[in-house]
């Protein structure tokens, strides 16, 4: 090889290396964003933790940062509100979602499946603000009549709407899990004389269990983090929730309502970042669990 040719090859390889590094840098960007969110929440929340102490956030029963007498910063009431609304949503969405997923994968004909799946995708695309709007106008008055309360803006309303919002996630991931159960499992069951229903209940769904659990966790993560629906439909009373009929103010609503009124750098501003950090941490945990479960399931499948 002549020197000139050699030089050309070296340049070529150098160029390749740079191009690879460029794509790699874009990949690393995602890590930077995640770390950035994590650290910015901590940095902005730190003044409040330093001044008030973690105990104030965790154990004070009241959240009232704008009180003239004595400000209190207890996040307990909103954490309970968030959990209450989320658990309510899961009670509705989990059986419905898994039922629908099982229907799509094992009962429905191919043609039905091709019609129903896009319908569920449309449902997934409806913005949360539209769902919240219908929660105020349709679910609210309906619940008010049913429960004999002055208005229907309460935890039940939020749960119903969040159930609708988390259904598409639960259905699509459960369906994937149920569909990917090896055919042999079912055939063995049929060979033993079980019918389709028995096979579905005793073989297919248990075999897909980890995927189904992961889908529920992801749906739950979505419900915990959902802002506009709960902000519009839950009534927003900042007190500790007494029952599922009471008006509640979950974590996300609190941030949405109060951030606009704070002074930048003030204690209230900073404390809202602490609240956001708690929310971030909750969804992080839920996603982590779903990740672990899903990993296990992929290993079993191999």
């Amino acid at each position: 090889m002549t020197d000139k040719k050699k030089q050309k090859v070296v340049i070529r390889l150098f160029k390749e290396k740079i191009i690879e590094k460029f794509f790699q840098a874009n990949g690393i960007f995602s890590i930077i964003v995640l770390l950035g969110i994590f650290s910015l929440l901590l940095i902005e929340g730190w003044p409040a933790i330093k001044e008030l102490g973690i105990a104030e956030f965790l154990f004070n029963p009241k959240w009232n940062p704008t009180s003239f007498v004595k400000e209190s910063y207890g996040i307990l009431s909103m954490v309970v509100s968030t959990l209450m609304v989320t658990i309510g949503a899961m009670i509705i969405a989990v059986p419905l979602g898994i039922g629908c997923a099982a229907y799509l994968s094992d009962v429905a004909s191919r043609k039905t499946r091709e019609i129903v799946k896009p319908i569920i995708e449309i449902l997934a695309g409806i913005p949360s603000v539209v769902i919240g709007f219908l929660g105020i106008i349709i679910v609210g008055p309906f619940l008010a009549k049913l429960l004999h309360t002055s208005n229907g803006l309460n935890a039940i309303n939020g749960s119903l709407l969040l159930a609708i919002m988390s259904l598409p996630t639960i259905i699509s991931i459960s369906e994937d899990a149920i569909t990917s159960v090896p055919k042999v499992y079912k055939e063995v069951s049929y060979a033993l004389g079980a019918n389709k229903w028995q096979t579905l209940l005793k073989v297919t769904i248990p075999a897909a269990m980890s995927g189904v659990i992961a889908s529920v966790m992801l749906g739950m993560g979505r419900a915990i983090g959902e802002t506009m629906t709960v902000l519009m439909a839950c009534g927003n009373a900042p007190a500790f929730p007494e029952s599922i009929k009471s008006s509640v103010r979950p974590i996300t609503s609190t941030i949405a309502i109060e951030m606009g009124e704070t002074v930048q750098g003030g204690l209230h501003y900073s404390s809202l970042f602490v609240v956001a950090f708690v929310l971030f941490f909750m969804t992080f945990l839920v996603n982590l669990v779903s990740d672990i479960v899903l990993n296990k399931y992929q290993k079993v499948k191999r």
Partner: protein, 288 residues
């Protein structure tokens, strides 16, 4: 006898599952029917092209449509290139290893971060720290971060549909990695990547929480030209709907307008989603 019992159970069981699916379809049908039937009553040329008047009790939603358009465009311009490049790295260059695992974990976690947290992050970073203020840019970038995991996943799906043989053929002829990607992978994957960006656009258009503190305005009928507009506050369809539904002083009077806004918003989103599905469908048919 036992055989029959099993058969009855199966019959009932399947009906139960079918019923689950029916409920979900009924919910969607009800949502669409309610919004379309009530929204249609206020939709006319004036509603789509005029500014709101008389404390938003009359007039149209033009500034909100324009605002939603521009924040979505900014978000896509920001997130799609990064999403595509990340997908190329993950699917073409990366070998299994620690860095890849961490990148994938970060992407999965980002897709689970609540939208309101993105809102706070965007507010602290773009609005305050970078001093972009309350503007289309701040909001668009925040939405871009939110849609990034989706664009990455969609782009990767697109790359995965390109057969391995295309790459091997090119490399067998002595082409380098980048030459292979440029000539034998990207041309086939771009339509699929486009699908991802359209889906990202639809998602960005419907989000409210991330723009709450980063630039959306209650009432902002001023519409300057293109570059100037990016540094100003704006109105957006989802936020306009939120205001009309909860914050307006004459809430019953503006309810039809709220329905109209909701109809325009979901029509836009369903159109974009259908376009994405259509592109994907065409694309799959072509390379199968």
């Amino acid at each position: 006898m036992k055989y029959n019992l099993a058969k009855i159970k199966q019959f009932l069981g399947f009906y139960l599952l079918r019923f689950c699916a029916l409920i979900i379809i009924a919910i969607l049908a009800f949502i669409l029917w309610d919004i379309i039937s009530k929204g249609m009553q206020v939709i006319n040329w004036e509603f789509l092209t005029q500014k709101p008047r008389n404390g938003m009790t009359e007039g149209g939603i033009w500034p909100a449509i324009v605002g939603t358009f521009w924040v979505s465009v900014v978000s896509v311009v920001f997130s799609v290139p990064i999403g595509m490049f990340t997908a190329i790295y993950l699917n073409e260059y990366a070998r299994q290893g620690r860095l890849i695992r961490i990148i994938r974990m970060a992407i999965r976690n980002l897709s689970g971060v609540p939208s309101i947290v993105y809102g706070l992050f965007g507010f602290a970073l773009f609005t305050l720290m970078f001093n972009f203020g309350l503007s289309v840019i701040s909001s668009g970038l925040t939405l871009g971060l939110l849609t990034l995991p989706w664009t990455i996943t969609a782009s990767e799906e697109a790359l995965k549909t390109v057969p391995l043989a295309y790459r091997e053929a090119s490399q067998a002829l002595g082409a380098t990695k980048w030459q292979t990607i440029k000539t034998n992978v990207l041309p086939y994957a771009v339509p699929g990547m486009l699908t991802g960006s359209v889906l990202g656009l639809a998602r960005a258009a419907g989000e409210t929480a991330p723009i709450l503190f980063t630039g959306v305005a209650f009432f902002w009928p001023i519409l300057p030209g293109f570059p100037k507009l990016l540094t100003q506050q704006f109105m957006a369809l989802p936020y306009h709907l939120y205001i009309l539904a909860t914050q307006h002083h004459e809430i019953l009077k503006v309810r039809p307008l709220a329905y109209g806004t909701a109809l325009v918003l979901i029509t836009l989103i369903i159109l974009m989603n259908s376009a994405a599905v259509w592109i994907r469908y065409r694309f799959r048919k072509k390379y199968k």
